[in-house]
């Protein structure tokens, strides 16, 4: 047995779904499309499958979500459900009932779950479920899904589903209604596969929607002719045929809703009072900006303790494994390749979780719609609509859910533009790179004692990507996606307190997807990169050997000089305090101590030279050096170039690549990557990483599309390789030019 949950967005469908299924749920995709299909078994009745359909205002398919909901309900995508539970917001019966009338017309057994009874009551609305049940002719169960009230009654009702009775209770205007039987007959003749109970719905859709009509053009040309002739006739007679269905449904719904709900107190709800602030002319945009800044400040600073803890844990684990296993390249692979590589992903989970947390709160509370409301004017200017705000904000976490969220946009052109610019929004995979270089090369002070410079730098990285996304959207709209203006029709749902349990559950699921996706790529890349960096093996370095030999000679010479000052005294062992009275001896000891220090330093630099020789002669070194001439104008040496090569699979990989490049052969293993970066020098003593190089690299990462998963999802969502290719090309060119500008401009201005 299969139950489908259907209803408007923001009516608590997901909360109800979680209540019905507990945690026994599977998230997959509907076949052929990337619309999420959430399914689970009914708690206490494992033979009943519950499917959560995407939220829709109507079954007339304008967006992909609506098409999926419709196709599931008519059994075109999978076997049609045995029962449909329509979830309604009790506080907003009229609009919610619209889609219910459409579902009832499909002839499926329908149960209405009247949700948010508590909120309706708080807002002074008395809702009469039994009156509604009588008028609609289907069972109505009042519930408060967030508190689990009424769930048992609903389950009982699902297990004893009502009979399906296809009765059209609403009235189509007579002039149109009279023509329906002939059209149904025509469609039956040409398309006998359409189920009898769907015929009327199909006819009404074809009559009102151009696209629905076009879909029949090949299969039922005569039916299309009939409809077009009829439309002409109606137009001549001045009959509003296009509005007939909607008007008819609302004419029926209006009185029903009025009978079922009574306002018992004043209309100013808490939600309205909140809106008076959040959408206020001055306070609204300020709040929006403040929320964004606070979120990024929090993501950057709150996560630090957890990240330090994970870093320490990974280092301890690597150290433990290294001491427990015999020395050799397998141990090196395990510690330097695998543990360090995976550790470099795990360490950024705190930030990703925090970002998902804040985005989740904004979504669940209803603030996301307000941000669209506030931003629409500005978004319109660059050719997008406020509806693109949510997909673009989601892209801050990851471009993949962002690109998928673009599905909710009605306009195909807006959807494509949003998809094309979404990867410019700084995703969480860029965070590791931003964090590493900002923490290493920017001062830790605070501006006006509140916002740290590092937090501000992070914020400006996000702003840069965001602004460029807008510019790109404006250009795409002018040059590539020309066409009629899009429209903006969006509900401002009532504010709601986010349910923490649900929020955490979704955070967990999203992060799991991220960690597994990133983890797989990074583990594979870490291993491959370790091999690329470690083979072919180079054990000899004439330069290092020479330095070592010179160091030994130098040390011997200095020891001899010191010995000459204090003949007969042993200078190699520590002397007791009494002998320090002898000032000549103290001087001699000082000389040997300095000689020792110089010797150790020389050995260290020989060691570093040997390590870098290993990398230079390894496969990845060759790759990096091939690219170096191209990347040098951006300030990148061959190591950064090698890191960028590896990062074209996934951005965050550059961190583990640099980690491996800088720690390969490092027996100590405790040097933090950022210190290693700061310490690295060109052979002539210039530092490899100056603040300007770091900035250039950061800018490169802001703009470059280094993520195979994004390309794959864009391919699926646009159904062609053309757009992902264009996307990759324009972003790479943009990244190169922007970095070139930053580095060369910086040099001209006298920075280094």
């Amino acid at each position: 047995m299969r139950v489908a949950l259907c209803g408007n967005p923001n009516v608590g469908k997901t909360t109800l779904f979680n209540q019905l299924t507990g945690l026994r749920q599977r998230v997959a995709n509907f076949p052929g499309v990337t619309v999420e299909r959430k399914a689970g078994t009914l708690a206490g009745a494992p033979h009943v499958e519950v499917v959560d359909l995407p939220g829709t205002y109507s079954l007339t398919p304008r967006s992909i979500d609506e098409r999926i909901a419709y196709e599931v309900l008519v059994g075109r995508l999978e076997t049609e459900p045995d029962v449909v539970v329509c979830v309604l917001d009790a506080g907003n019966l009229e609009r919610n009932l619209y889609v219910v009338t459409q579902v009832i017309d499909l002839g499926l057994p329908v149960i209405v779950a009247l949700n948010m009874m508590d909120v309706a009551e708080e807002n002074g609305l008395a809702v009469d479920a039994s009156a509604l049940e009588k008028d609609l002719g289907v069972p109505v169960v009042p519930i408060t899904a967030s508190r689990g009230e009424g769930i048992d009654e609903l389950k009982k009702c699902i297990l004893n589903p009502p009979e399906s009775a296809q009765v059209y209770r609403w009235q189509l205007m007579d002039a149109v209604d009279a023509k329906i039987p002939a059209l149904i007959k025509q469609l039956t003749e040409e398309a006998p596969h359409v189920k009898p109970m769907h015929l009327r719905m199909e006819v009404l859709r074809a009559l009102a929607e151009e696209e629905a009509l076009d879909a029949w053009r090949l299969e039922a040309p005569e039916f299309v002719n009939c409809i077009e002739a009829l439309q002409e006739e109606f137009a001549k007679r001045g009959i509003a045929w296009r509005h007939a269905e909607v008007s008819g449904r609302y004419a029926w719904i209006g009185p029903i809703a009025q009978r079922a709900s009574h306002r018992v107190s004043g209309p100013a709800t808490l939600s309205d009072r909140i809106d008076a602030v959040f959408t206020h002319r001055v306070a609204g945009p300020l709040c929006f900006l403040l929320i964004l800044v606070c979120v990024f400040e929090a993501v950057f600073s709150w996560a630090i303790p957890a990240m330090d803890l994970i870093e320490a844990g990974v280092a301890a684990l690597a150290g433990g494994v290294r001491s427990a296993l015999p020395a050799g390249w397998v141990t090196d692979l395990l510690t330097d390749g695998i543990i360090t590589g995976v550790g470099n992903v795990v360490v950024f989970l705190p930030q990703i979780l925090l970002l998902f947390f804040f985005l989740g709160i904004m979504e669940d509370s209803g603030y996301m719609a307000r941000s669209a409301f506030i931003m629409d004017r500005l978004m319109k200017r660059v050719g997008l609509s406020g509806g693109s705000v949510l997909p673009l904000l989601s892209s801050y976490a990851c471009a993949i859910p962002g690109i998928m969220a673009a599905r909710t946009l009605d306009s195909e052109r807006d959807r494509l533009i949003t998809i094309m610019v979404a990867p410019l929004m700084s995703c969480s995979a860029r965070l590791p790179v931003y964090t590493l270089f900002i923490a290493a090369f920017l001062p830790t002070g605070k501006l006006m004692g509140v916002f740290g410079y590092q937090g501000l730098a992070m914020f400006s990285m996000y702003m840069m990507g965001t602004i460029m996304a807008f510019v790109a959207a404006a250009i795409l709209k002018r040059l590539v996606f020309k066409g009629p203006a899009s429209y903006f029709v969006m509900e401002l749902p009532p504010y709601r307190r986010p349910r923490l349990r649900q929020l955490f559950w979704r955070m967990y699921q999203r992060s799991k997807v991220f960690a597994i996706r990133a983890g797989k790529i990074i583990l594979g890349c870490s291993i491959a990169l370790w091999f690329l960096a470690s083979f072919p093996r180079t054990d000899t370095s004439p330069e290092a050997t020479q330095i070592e030999e010179l160091a030994i000679q130098e040390r011997n010479r200095e020891y001899a000089a010191a010995q000459a000052l204090a003949p007969g005294r042993d200078l190699t062992v520590a002397t007791d305090s009494l002998s320090l009275v002898d000032s000549t001896l103290v001087y001699a000891l000082d000389l040997t101590a300095r000689a020792d220090a110089r010797y150790t330093a020389a050995l260290d630099s020989a060691n570093i030279i040997r390590q870098s020789t290993q990398i230079r002669e390894s496969a990845i070194g060759h790759l990096g050096r091939i690219l170096e001439p191209v990347m040098q104008p951006l300030g990148f040496d061959w190591k950064i170039s090698a890191g960028l090569v590896s990062a074209f699979a996934a951005r965050e990989v550059i961190v583990s690549t640099l980690g491996i490049i800088y720690s390969v052969g490092d027996a100590e293993g405790g040097v933090a990557l950022r210190d290693a970066l700061k310490a690295d020098q060109y052979p002539d003593g210039r530092p490899v990483f100056t603040p300007l190089v770091a900035l250039s690299l950061l800018v490169f990462f802001v703009f470059a599309l280094q993520c195979m998963s994004t390309l794959a999802i864009a391919r699926r969502e646009t159904n062609t390789w053309r757009w992902p290719m264009v996307m990759w090309l324009y972003m790479t060119v943009l990244a190169y030019l922007a970095s070139l500008l930053v580095y060369q401009g910086g040099l001209l201005l006298g920075f280094s």
Partner: protein
């Protein structure tokens, strides 16, 4: 007059529409002829509009509001 001519706080009754791709969506959201609509406020940058229709808040742009013929409700 059209919905665009209403000031925040004013209400009207929908009479009909100018043809546009947005109309079917607007109607599905409950903006059918004879229904009441109130302009609650303008967005901070002047567009879109926050409407109250069928007891919920719907946001549309001024360009769409200009497609909706209404009669102003006095008082």
């Amino acid at each position: 007059m059209t919905l665009r001519d209403l000031r925040p706080g004013e209400s009207g009754t929908i009479l009909g529409f100018e043809p546009s791709a947005a109309i079917n969506r607007l109607m599905e959201m409950g903006m059918v002829p004879d229904s009441q609509v109130q302009v609650v406020r303008l967005a901070p940058f002047g567009d879109p509009i926050d409407l109250k229709v069928r007891d919920y808040h719907l946001s549309i742009r001024k360009s769409e509001a200009a497609l909706i013929r209404i009669s102003r409700q006095e008082g």
